[in-house]
Amino acid sequence: MENVQTAVVEELQQVAELRGLSLPSVSPRQHLIDDLGLKSLDLAHLVAALERRLRVDPFIKHVPITQIRTLGDLCAAYTCALAEQE
């Protein structure tokens, strides 16, 4: 199984690059909006990319997107969703 944090960070960097955002380093405690500068559309792109890569969408049934504040929250949501799938 692919490492969730690796997948999330790589897709995040792709989304940031397309938007012209600079992300020199990321950590799980960073807020997606306040610290990393993501907008809701960026989050939609990120979730779509992760759905394609990890074959799971935690926000269909498991977790309200409004509970996701930090990069760590996002990684945890995917980890839980993948664990439930197995």
Partner: protein
Amino acid sequence: MNAGQVALVSGGSRGLGAALVQALLAAGWRVATFSRQSTPSIERCGEQHAGSFDWQPLDAADFDALRGWVAHVRDRWDRIDALVNNSAVSREGRLTLQSTDDIHTLLAVNLESVIHLSRAAAQTMLNQRHGAIVNISSVNALRGHTGVAVYSATKAALDGLTRSLARELGPSGIRVNSVAPGYFASALTAGMPEEQRKQIVRRTPLGRLAEAEDIAGVVRFLLSDEARFVTGQTLVVDGGLTC
């Protein structure tokens, strides 16, 4: 030509859905559709367009199955360029006499299934930064008629969904429009009394009911590059009935 582009059409087994499927296949699209049962139209498409046509048996009210269907098409053809939300049911009757089952079915098939299909297809389109969605609405969304209150509500809701989704997805290169057909010969109008049919024709400036191909042509336009600057709109195709 749209060689290689992939269109999903819900409810493509008969009537307008079948016409939409055939029109898009003829225009070079790869087309995936579903219905509860196969039909002669589905079988002909499978024979004549093997490799470019995919049909699955599905119930539009099974939202998990709908999400699975979208994933199946994406996995088979690696892209989704268009979604046509055509699948619909009609349960005519005055509201005060309508059963809760009928109300639930109308909302589930005509509105909720559209929302779930659009959510699923839009995720693939977001990855592509490209796509087009067409929702099949109705003149009943624009004008009131006795006996179709809940049906009208579901179709008016599609137009609202169209406008907001167009705003939401436009920045990602995805266009969303709806087509509001007037009355045309279909399973949904099969029970219409002849006098009512004649009255509609008299009130239509172009002097006839629509044919499925009239609607399919407009949908094909909205999915094409010729409509590249059209989004958030409801195109009424009714021979002038509501003008």
